[in-house]
């Protein structure tokens, strides 16, 4: 059973947005028991999609005394690379198959302090290495929109959990596309915050210099609600910024009148057919009072090289701790993708090669930053397709070692420079029920601008499958 375009049903509270459910709870139009019952049912019905690796059967009991908090005791799914105290955390790798963290990540701590309840841990590409969930040691997740297709990744489980209405929102993490790309493939909203906005403490590290936790949700508003609760400075993560968290929910309806938007990558030949499909959608921004025009940016193909080298280097270092001394399932349990990345990263950091590869990559990374600086001197926002095309078929990664890098190519420039980005659904193929996503990028720390554009677009178009839930 695949999920049709319209998710919202009046009688199924699991298909409501977080914003609506919260209101309904306050107005006593619904109870948490009813919500959890509906969610449990949805999870049971989508078991074949392999969305969850672990579930908390006591979730409903934890809603106690949380109803007055911002997240009101509502069920949230969390990607399985966030350490959750007492709840198994595997990063989808056999190496951590038995790992029960004795501590809680900062993001999940905040989530729960704000009244959210973690109902389960979602599947991902092992160690978040990939854009399909196919590298997971516990099997791939299927795309709820069309079961013949992949959900994207690495936060594929979280995006699928939202698309299948098995939770009211989810937490993902992005290193280069891992929130936005699966959100695009599953037709949901994914918000990748500025690097340093959300704490990485307790998140199984992939590439430390770009890892960014963030929400995956049904609507831009829902994403903003969750963002406000999980963002902020963390004394346990030196790379978080000591900045106040913007009240995004108060910015939502400010519109985009007179904003200047640059359209990225529409001149790249292999993307012509996809851009053609969203031509009309891009015109929506003009109707809303913004100016949009194509811009010339540094070729994203270079970002693949930079990202591949930097990320592999950091991966080879971050995975060095799983040597088998303390996690009894040691390095023999690493999957093929992790092994490839460790080998490549070790090579690019080796004496005599580090200058040629790692340091050169870091220099090109700086060029990308300069390129964005000059673009943002002229434009308030930049938009592009999130992914070069629709979701790929199940099995598509086979023999494709660079699968993820190609699918994430349009997101890598903003990821390696730490910029915030937002995916909103912007097109649906009525035959396959698969989506294209629009990637909206803002300058550092300007998530407010990005969500204003995303929300305005969502309201003005018909592509969000929950938008008619009022």
């Amino acid at each position: 059973m695949s999920i049709p375009h319209k998710n919202y049903h009046k009688d199924q509270p699991n298909t409501w947005t977080l914003a609506k459910t919260r209101k309904a709870l306050t107005n006593k139009e619904i109870t948490l028991e009813e919500i959890y019952k509906a969610v449990d049912k949805a999870i049971a019905q989508t078991k074949n999609l392999n969305i969850y690796l672990a579930r908390d059967n006591q979730a409903l009991t934890k809603t106690h005394q949380r109803t007055n908090l911002p997240l009101a005791g509502l069920p949230i799914a969390v990607k399985d690379n966030f350490c959750t105290k007492g709840l198994i955390t595997t990063a989808s790798s056999n190496v951590l198959k038995k790992f029960i963290p004795p501590f809680e990540s900062t993001v999940t701590t905040k989530l729960q302090q704000a009244g959210g309840v973690i109902t389960g841990k979602t599947n991902l590409d092992a160690w978040a290495h990939g854009s399909s969930t196919e590298t997971s040691d516990f099997g791939r997740t299927l795309n709820p929109r069309n079961l013949d297709y992949l959900p994207g990744g690495s936060s594929g489980g979280s995006a699928a959990a939202v698309a299948a209405d098995t939770c009211l929102a989810a937490i993902g993490s992005e290193t280069a596309g891992s929130i936005r790309q699966p959100a695009a493939w599953c037709g949901v909203v994914g918000l990748k915050p500025t690097y340093g906005r959300c704490s990485r403490f307790g998140v199984v590290a992939m590439a430390s210099s770009t890892d960014s936790p963030g929400p995956i949700a049904k609507t831009v508003e829902d994403a903003c609600i969750v963002f406000e609760q999980i963002a902020g400075f963390d004394p346990y993560d030196s790379t978080t910024a000591n900045k106040s968290v913007p009240k995004l929910t108060e910015e939502l309806n400010k519109g985009i009148k007179n904003l200047k938007i640059g359209l990225l990558y529409s001149d790249i030949k292999e993307l012509q057919s996809s851009y053609k499909l969203i031509e009309k959608e891009l015109a929506v921004f003009e109707r809303l009072g913004a100016k949009i025009e194509p811009v010339k940016a540094l070729d994203p193909h270079y970002a693949i090289g930079v990202y591949t080298i930097v990320q592999r280097a950091e991966v080879s270092s971050n995975l060095a701790r799983y040597a088998g001394v303390r996690y009894d399932l040691g390095r023999t349990q690493f999957g093929a993708e992790a092994k490839r990345r460790i080998m490549l990263g070790t090579f690019t950091l080796a004496k005599g090669y580090a200058d040629k590869y790692y340091l050169t990559a870091q220099k090109v990374r700086t060029l990308f930053k300069k390129d964005f600086d000059q673009l943002f001197a002229k434009y308030d926002l930049l938009v592009s397709l999130t992914s070069p095309g629709f979701a790929k078929k199940v099995g598509a990664t086979e023999g494709q070692a660079m699968f993820g890098e190609l699918e994430d190519m349009l997101l890598e420039p903003s990821s390696i420079t730490g910029l915030p980005g937002l995916n909103v659904p912007c097109y649906r193929n009525p035959q396959t029920n698969l989506y294209l996503g629009l990637n909206i990028i803002a300058p550092m720390w300007r998530e407010d601008l990005m969500i204003r554009a995303g929300h305005a677009f969502e309201q003005a178009t018909d592509w969000n499958s929950w938008r008619n839930d009022q």
Partner: protein, 450 residues
Amino acid sequence: MITTTKNSKYELVCGLEVHAELKTASKMFCGCVNNPFGAPKPNVYTCPVCLGMPGGLPVINKKAVEWTIQLGLALHCQINLFSHFDRKHYFYPDLPKGYQISQYDQPFCYGGYIDTSEGRVKITRIHLEEDTAKLLHEIVDEQKISLIDFNRSGVPLVEIVTEPNIKSAKQASEYGKTLRQLIRYLEIGDCNMEQGGMRLEANVSLRPVGSNHLPSYKVEIKNINSFRFLEQAIVFEVERQTTLLNDNKIPTQETRGFDAVKNITFSQRSKESAEDYRYFPDPDLPPLVFNDSQIEMWRNELPKLPKQVVEHWQTKFDISVSLGQQLIKTKTQSSWLDQVFELAQKAKISPAKLANAFINKKLPLDSAILPQTIIDQFSKNNQTTAIEEDQLTQLITDLLNKHSSELARYKAGETKLLGFFIGQIKRQVPPSTNISQINQELLKQLDRKT
């Protein structure tokens, strides 16, 4: 001199790498207690960060950075205004993350020196890193097993590296002792060598006398836990390498351990080519940027250093250099001693005698004691004990009554009889009785009897 024998064709080329643990309250990158030797049992001072758990992230201990820079300033180093931490990768069971957070190309301090009696030893660099856990090899149920104690994992560790310009074994150990004294003096480390709070590694090679080139090989000696062993190890190596070179053999580039029982070094592993630690800047830790005024502030916070203090004591209080050096321990103790000596001088007590009493007469050397209390105690120890006033008065009255003729002669002007009276009283009181007290009381009564 015990190094290169006078007739040798070769001269020593030696550099030292010294590791010292800093005694900050918490560890280098987490909030765990930094007290591995005082821990009640293994693995109590641990957390996800120093255990290297998934998602653990380091946060810099600012105190440790400050102390490292102050040590650098005390050793005449330059300070890098831009610095960062790097990951140094290698596999060992006591290294939970598979890498050590250290500093590679931008250490906090560079280019300092320590002056020794055999000349200046140049310091190349001082950097800050984290200590490893501790391996315990034990036999349990007749099985050889290795256990890991993570109490030490993540303890701040400074590494002080010299240029290869140490010329003798004696100079190496003098350098090390001076360095240890300074670290203890600044109260940033205990440098307990037996517990591994300070560890010495010597790089030893030989070159023909008169040559300016570095030798083509280098022998690293590890596991040296005393300055005596350091000297012995270098002397042994010089002899071993001399024999090889005389046979036209180049000593192998290797790491050697020191066997303190047999008093020899032994090969541990060959180090034909440099190891590849795949250093790169730790992406979990932003770079550290300092400005000149910050460095100046730290420089101004530095106390007077041991050498200056000893000189100051000599000029101001006439305390000999050797005595002064014995009294140098920590900066707190030195400033306390300053106060004690000042007070002594005011009270007309010789500071030098006082200094001597600290070393030789068990006068308590404890900065927790009020300086005035120390002065009082010193005076008491050195002054005669007082006698009960009533008792003394009675003694004198009896004496004068008994010797009425002498009293009359005294009254007549024979004042030298005072000595006779005193002598008589002294026979009747304990030998330590305060003479001036007797004197005073005696004169009082003699006058009254006029």
